[in-house]
Symmetry: C2
Subunit: 333 residues, 2 copies
């Protein structure tokens, strides 16, 4: 009996010891996991990305960046958008998203003004909003993340000069009524003019953002200026169109620089028909949009700590020149 | 005996149950705390901020942003710099920092070219480098975070127009040989010219970045053009100098816009001598410099996941207009 009682007491003692250690370690772990929560979201924290023509390949890498950041921060994301190139549809989608009070909204504006009122409504309701890819500069959104299109044109000009040994006549196929394309054209033209005295821009044609119209524009350039050595297309369909023209007219010595990284463009780079294409920092747009929204939602951002603006007002996500050498990195995954 | 044995068995059962729960909860907590380590640095992870004229007030809010981000990410920081306005001293400091292989370096370049070779050496050794406030655009640093000086001039022009009811003659005091001041002047002049047909920039004078020279320049403007309604100074000493001139000549109706948020400037805003001053996003420069370096050091950034550049190439940290209403937020803390 006495022995049993001793075992009994020992067991209770061990038991209590275990409970003690258990509580100690648990509370310790809980504390340290609290310390790390500055960059740890709640699973019910949802961030929404909104685009237009939402099925376009172009958005895939934006969304991938958005999702990659969400995974790091342990929050969830949703992808929404106007399926068509339709202003009213995008406004409606944005209204629907606002009604569900998400933790933040990253939106690419179909045009610079149509969404301003609705974006402001979201901000006034306390929902963080950032713009990416296409800005609505008059709105109350906290930041814009996108390409500096003028600089993209500058990069294209330097690349063209490299391809042509700093001399020769060149043409441009663009969409002259869209601001981003105007800027790309201006950056290209001014750089050629200022830095390459032996190069000349001899033609700027409207490709209408369309493969067939761009092909026709390229044919006109190549026939009107038989000594043209290179063409720069400021958007993807223009790139495909001019490639078709060059192949058709058997003018493969003409150096082509295109824009963006649609599969068709990358295939033409791989084949050597297009010498280079300019990749926008789409992954970075999505990734940093989510980081910014997270910072606003969790009030980590400066407004609570300094006189500064809540976020940097503009982030230039940069341009990468894609050639045969690095083209494989740009196929969608 | 039998009763005792039952109690005995029950106790052992309870004991085992407890151990089981304990192990379960511990492993669960351990797992979740591992999940959170993407934004959790090591305490021995040191990030260095390097400036020139390192005692200047101006850097304090940059460093505060750098420190605030470090605290969130649980890493440590160090502040270094050339004490003088001395190119060689800053190169030496940078060399010393590189030798100790820090986790990352944020540096404000004393001039656009002198540090390029040393910055490139750091990057080639695998040390992440970003530039803030003053760029060295030819270097291999991953990003530049700073004010868009042209836009700052644009903001100053709109503010001046607001103060003067969109009409009147204005002057500028600047440092005409420094790029950032050229840009501020250009943004101001072009905006007045394009947007305010009833306003005219009648004088642009060299204040030499010095209070006394700026005071003299302001006196000349005020005496040569007695109808001048406003003066914009593109840097802090110019602001103090023109304030002294206006007080001395008893021309307190002239609206003054200055730059930056040194204590003397803020005091003059508070007194109403200077109508407004432009605050740069210095906290944001420091805060996002550290966030960017952390991302590079931990390879969270895009290069490992996409064809994109490792970081956005440029971050515009924005401008805030400081007036009597919000001046208190800008005193150093």
């Amino acid at each position: 009996m006495k022995k049993l009682a001793i075992i009994y007491v020992c067991l209770i003692g061990l038991f209590l010891l275990y409970i003690y250690r258990y509580h100690f370690e648990i509370s310790h772990l809980r504390l340290s996991s609290q310390e790390e929560t500055a960059f740890q979201g709640q699973p019910n924290e949802k961030y929404v990305m909104i685009t237009f023509q939402s099925g376009m390949d172009y958005w895939k890498r934006c969304l991938k960046g958005f999702e990659d950041a969400a995974e790091e921060l342990n929050v969830s994301v949703e992808y929404r958008g106007a399926t068509q190139y339709d202003v009213n549809e995008q406004v409606t989608v944005l209204e629907q998203v606002i009604a569900r009070k998400p933790a933040g909204i990253a939106i690419s504006a179909i045009n610079p003004t149509a969404l301003t009122k609705t974006i402001n409504k979201a901000v006034e309701k306390g929902i963080p909003v950032v713009l990416f890819d296409s800005n609505a500069s008059g709105s109350k959104a906290f930041s814009f993340l996108g390409t500096n299109n003028y600089n993209a044109g500058v990069t294209a000009a330097h690349e063209m000069a490299k391809l042509l040994g700093n001399k020769g006549n060149v043409g441009i196929i663009t969409s002259p009524y869209q601001l981003n394309h105007q800027e790309r054209t201006r950056g290209f033209v001014e750089t050629i003019y200022q830095k390459y005295p032996q190069m000349h821009v001899v033609a700027v044609k409207n490709g209408k953002g369309d493969v067939r119209a761009s092909k026709q524009a390229a044919i006109e350039i190549l026939e009107d200026y038989p000594d043209v050595q290179g063409i720069f297309a400021t958007e993807a369909n223009g790139g495909v169109g001019m490639a078709e023209a060059v192949v058709m007219l058997n003018k493969k010595h003409v150096k082509l620089i295109s824009f963006d990284t649609e599969k068709q463009t990358l295939d033409l780079v791989k084949k050597g028909v297009i010498a280079a294409t300019l990749a926008q920092g789409t992954w970075n747009m999505g990734y940093w949009s989510l980081q910014f929204l997270f910072q606003l939602h969790h009030r980590l951002t400066s407004s609570s700590r300094s006189g500064d603006l809540p976020l940097p007002v503009y982030v230039d996500t940069g341009i990468t020149v894609v050639t045969k050498e690095n083209v494989d990195r740009f196929y969608a995954r």
